[in-house]
Symmetry: C2
Subunit: 158 residues, 2 copies
């Protein structure tokens, strides 16, 4: 077992360009759709790391919730006002390590700048990593716990 | 634009228990399948953060490549010996920020310990975050660039 106090230091590889300047503008909760276009701007000295990325339709982006403070283990989130859920069973921004994960569609590349669709981050958000999206869990194998229940309740209410 | 030198400090929320003690034991490259069972052991004080996680069939695990040193922008990876590819277009462990991302199937929970299938991490790997897997990109919308090409070449060769 490793050292629990062991800290790992990360530095941004670049920043997100997004139409969202304020959290309130980002679609959240039931039925939220992320179609916004934006860019992932890498540090110019890392551009070589993007070689052959154009061949992938979708990317994982790992980024920092840099405008969230502290964490809450059992937060109440926009999708379900009725009950709180564990932070690791939610996408709450107030996490022990404030890392966000988004799937975006790659539209094009201009040097160290990737044009993407599906940003749900604020403008200026620090990016930690980009990875190719290689495979999906088939929809019929997926169980979505309290999220599916909260969505069903909302539909019933109309 | 944020400060490019800005560092973010992360601390493990727990550790992976895996049958793999050595990188050579982990299935990699073409046709690699991850069916190994293991556990995600959280720090006991974070257990409340797992509330309601049992309802999800699959989880994202963000973890640290703690036994990789430095990074390579255009590495050669096991799947394709013929040509190197950009680190952000690959799953190479030698990344500017050494974060790994895995999708695991949740089999059960015992307090702060999640039993999972599909570990591709070494025993003792530090975990940074756990998130519910909520939706997939449909297979027909996915393009897999050089990875699909390398797989096809290998099939032709038999």
């Amino acid at each position: 077992m490793g050292d629990l106090a062991q800290a790992v230091e990360m530095r941004p590889i670049g920043f997100v360009r997004s139409p969202y300047r304020d959290k309130a503008e980002i679609p959240k909760g039931p039925g939220a759709e992320h179609r916004a276009e934006g860019a992932l701007e890498l540090r110019p000295e890392l551009e070589a790391g993007l070689q052959d990325i154009e061949g992938f339709s979708h990317l994982f982006v790992l980024w920092v919730f840099d405008r969230s403070l502290g964490y809450e283990l059992v937060p109440t989130v926009p999708l379900d006002a009725e009950a709180p859920h564990g932070v690791f069973a939610s996408r709450s921004p107030r996490r022990p390590n404030p890392i966000g994960l988004s799937v975006v569609e790659l539209l094009g590349r201009d040097g160290p700048r990737l044009l993407v669709r599906g940003v749900d981050m604020l403008d200026g958000t620090p990016i930690l990593d980009i990875k190719p999206y290689l495979s999906s869990v088939p929809a019929e194998k997926l169980r979505r716990g309290w999220v599916a229940e909260a969505e069903a309740r909302r539909k019933e209410k109309g």
